[in-house]
Symmetry: C2
Subunit: 225 residues, 2 copies
């Protein structure tokens, strides 16, 4: 009912590899029309997993939200819910990495970069009425030790984020091993602070934690100097 598609018309762009399935994925840059079906499905899944977790999100809800049909979902993701979730995790991975890079790159001073990173997270979280925390935590926790495809995507995301932070710490002159260890702690702490902020419906946990992280990092940076 309602024939929702059919009006975008840009039938080219065959240069798409990257994801396993045979996606057309319409790299449609003109007039910023509705993205291709596959892309819409992934985005909707990512947002729903972020807000309701893996078990709390149904395929039918996804297809409704993405304005795609069930047939399309299984066409693009024959591996079903698990494959779809794994792909959505990869989407959220990159999304969060962008945020992280933006925050950490905002100042040459390491401490300031850290606090403005938490400020950025806090602002986004508030803007979503405390709904959109880390895009993968909930799914990660629900599936740990039980859905290998998803676990793998989650582990990759964490490694990716740690790498982003590590780079910033190395640039600040922190030694390699310290930088790697600290990067892990930074990610873990941000994760925990975001959860706390959601529960408390307040920016405070994120901001306070940012302050403490800044102090910790500068302590290590000063050791070097």
């Amino acid at each position: 009912m309602k024939t929702p598609e059919r009006a975008d018309a840009s039938p080219n762009a065959k240069t798409n590899a990257k994801t396993g399935t045979n996606a057309h994925a319409r790299t449609n840059a003109k007039a910023e029309a509705k993205p291709g079906t596959r892309e819409r499905i992934v985005r909707a899944t990512s947002r729903l997993l972020q807000r309701q977790g893996y078990e709390g999100t149904g395929i039918k809800q996804i297809s409704r939200e993405a304005e795609a049909t069930l047939g399309s979902v299984y066409h693009f993701f024959p591996g079903g819910k698990q494959e779809l979730a794994a792909e959505a995790i990869r989407h959220g991975d990159e999304e969060f990495a962008v945020l992280l890079r933006a925050g950490l790159g905002s100042s040459p001073d390491l401490g300031e970069a850290m606090t403005s990173c938490t400020r950025l997270l806090a602002t986004e979280l508030r803007a979503s009425d405390w709904q959109d925390g880390c895009p993968i935590t909930s799914t990660a926790l629900e599936t740990v030790g039980r859905v290998p495809v998803i676990e793998e995507a989650v582990a990759e995301a964490f490694a990716n984020w740690r790498a982003v932070v590590t780079d910033r710490l190395l640039a600040a002159g922190i030694g390699e091993e310290d930088a790697r260890e600290l990067a892990g702690t930074v990610i873990n702490t941000l994760e925990g602070a975001e959860l706390a902020a959601q529960v408390a419906r307040s920016e405070e946990p994120l901001l306070v934690t940012g302050k403490h992280l800044a102090r910790l990092l500068t302590a290590y940076a000063d050791d070097r100097a």
Copy 2:
């Protein structure tokens, strides 16, 4: 089938308020026989929520695991799944608080107390094959902003844990406001580190994070001295 109960016999102990429902709760200290039905249900729910989250856990699975019948579950928790989950969260709250107190009280030196706390968490996590992380995180994330009864229990748990840490920091001579703020960060960080350890199936994130927390705390403690 199997008539699982019927052999404990201690039909008194009416002095039970605390929880809303009309619990008998059999304060059964002799022979440590199987706990009362209500207690078994709460414990099973707590463990299942910890491992599979809220949406991933069914009432029937709970009643099976608790060796109770569906009738018993709804007898003790007429509020259904939500009430049951809230009670299970309170159970996990106290469970985790005990762990926290044990770790933090294990040494007069603040830094050592902190690291032995993460060591304790790491050991327990490994012992459960990386399954039993924080008993409430998963449920908290899935229900945030959508199930007020549970949100409330979660918020109480967090406040409870923060209070435990705050006490320890005050005892170490840290000023009141710093202590309160740091306690929040400590809890957040432990939360994040436990998640990371589960995902990585390794004690390392917890231990490294413990080291960093110890350094942060002693830095604040030394400021005072």
